[in-house]
Amino acid sequence: MKSVHKVFISIAMVLAACVSTAILAMQSNDVGQVKLPSIKPGQYVHQAPTLADIQNDKDLHPELRKVILKGRDLFMNTQQLRGKNVFNDMNCKSCHMGEGRMAWSGPVWPAATTLPDYRGKNGHVNSLEERIAGCFSYSMNGTPPEYGSDTMLALVAYHQYMAKGAKLYDRNIGGRGFSSLGTAMPADVSYNQGAVVYALNCAVCHGPNGEGKRVHGEVVFPPLWGDGSYNWGAGMARVFTAASFIKNNMPLGQPGRLTDKEAWDVAYFINAQERPQDPRYTGDAKETREKYLNFHKATLYGTEINGKLLGQHDNTGEKPFLKPDVLKPRTFAEGVVPEM
């Protein structure tokens, strides 16, 4: 037993030496530069209004200003809906960084300029409210505020104000969503390399087990897997979504610090960990994966990683139900009841 212990220590020492060398080598010299992808010619860009713009816009009725600010407050501190609509540690701003205004960080204004629109994820035309409901159902592992409710109206008002002055229905938008690295996962993506990237760049904030960090109950760094994180149906569970998010937003303040390969590897590593069940779960992860393959082809859900079938469990985290009632199919063909 003692010799095993010694072996472990000596391996640890060697690795520690490697790691400290690696850390030194990794110091970036052009730190401070913001390295984001460039906007392609012909792509539409829009500068979303700031908080000061909301506060100073003379055209806003005071009541409307109040509602927009309420929406912003909900967006920045979505944990105020914890236990009601939110059942994990996420806030809207956790993924839509910079108040939902930033290109390459899922800016929210395009939702207001392009919806209603057809959405492949649920196979029908979605309103802005329904799009927000999707975030609550998956990313927040919860259930959306009711359509038309004060909370929903406030959130919609914030989204719509962010689109002030933007062109309607132009879909060729620069910096929209999270897909700058494309959707095709590289063939040589590596869990083990991802674990190293994670340990060196992410663990300091998100914790060695992806658990995030809280101070006096308040979430400072969101969990990346486990019960407190997004569920298996969230867009971020797709490896390409996480890879592009990480590439252009992480570590905080240093977009572009990681190479494309590092971003893919660490996204793969993070999304190969367990998380709350996909609300569309049929009781069988492989079957659920097949049923929603247009989405899950980009996730590791229902696949075996390191000998474990991901997503084969009944754990919904803190959420006391699996599927929010609002996740319903919709059709305008009378008499046709689609299966879901």
């Binding site: 472990f8 391996i11 640890a12 690795l15 520690a16 790691v19 400290s20 850390i23 110091q27 970036s28 730190v31 401070g32 913001v34 700031t50 908080l51 960084m97 910079g98 108040e99 205004r101 930033m102 869990y191 083990n192 674990a195 190293v196 994670y198 340990a199 060196l200 760049n201 663990a203 300091v204 904030c205 060695p208 960090k213 101070v215 006096h216 308040e218 400072v220 760094f221 570590p251 905080l252 303040g253 240093q254 977009p255």
Partner: protein, 217 residues
């Protein structure tokens, strides 16, 4: 040899995050603080009898500082990751256990208020914006996104900065800009410091100093 990846993760993480030594003993730390390390001065010479620091000379308050953070900083002085000849001389003869004892001692001291500089309201307002909202159009996340709610600190890597002397905060941000401070994990602070304009540094330092600090206990 196939290395278990979790061993690697564990080791890497331990390196970045946790001190590898025994917990500090505040009683021993108190004695060491009074004695000094043999080649340097007792802590109180610059940091004051209550660990309150000295704003005029940009000596920080160390009373109530997170012990892990204080320990990491003293190690950084020993290893020249923080370039500060005076602090290096003052701590170079302490071993890691002694540094842990010192850190534990200062962590137990009640927080003393910062010397609040007289700052114009518009400067404080700019500082508050940077501290709590950031300036994302110039890629500056708010201080609180890492330093926690009201910038009271999170852990040994993300110390409380509210209630610290403005002179010290300003000085440190400038040292980061000049490459004289390299103790931050993943260059998280260096990158932000290098994006700050002089007037933003003045404003955020003034605002943070004006905010109450809580002890980390």
């Amino acid at each position: 040899m196939k290395i278990n990846v979790w061993v690697l993760v564990l080791v890497c993480t331990a390196f970045i995050q946790a001190p590898l030594y025994a917990k500090g003993d505040p009683a021993k730390g108190k004695i060491l603080a009074a004695q000094g390390d043999g080649s340097g001065a007792p802590c109180a010479t610059c940091h004051g009898a209550q660990g309150e620091g000295m704003a005029a000379a940009a000596f920080p308050r160390i009373a109530g500082l997170n012990a892990d953070y204080a320990l990491q900083q003293m190690l950084a002085f020993q290893q020249d990751k923080r370039v500060n000849p005076v602090m290096t001389i003052n701590v170079d003869n302490f071993n890691q256990q002694q540094l842990a004892d010192l850190a534990a001692y200062f962590a137990t001291l009640p927080v003393t208020p910062a010397t609040t500089p007289t700052a114009p309201p518009e400067q404080l307002a700019l500082g508050k914006k940077l501290a709590l909202e950031g300036d994302w159009d110039n890629y500056l996340p708010p201080c609180s996104s890492c330093h926690g709610p009201n910038n009271q600190g999170v852990d040994g890597n993300f110390p409380g900065i509210a209630g610290q002397h403005a002179s010290y905060i300003k000085q440190q941000l400038e040292l980061w800009q000049q490459g004289q401070r390299k103790s931050d994990p993943v260059q998280l602070m260096e990158v932000i410091a290098k994006r700050l304009k002089p007037e933003q540094i003045d404003a955020v330092a003034a605002y943070l100093a004006s905010q109450p600090a809580q002890a980390d206990q």
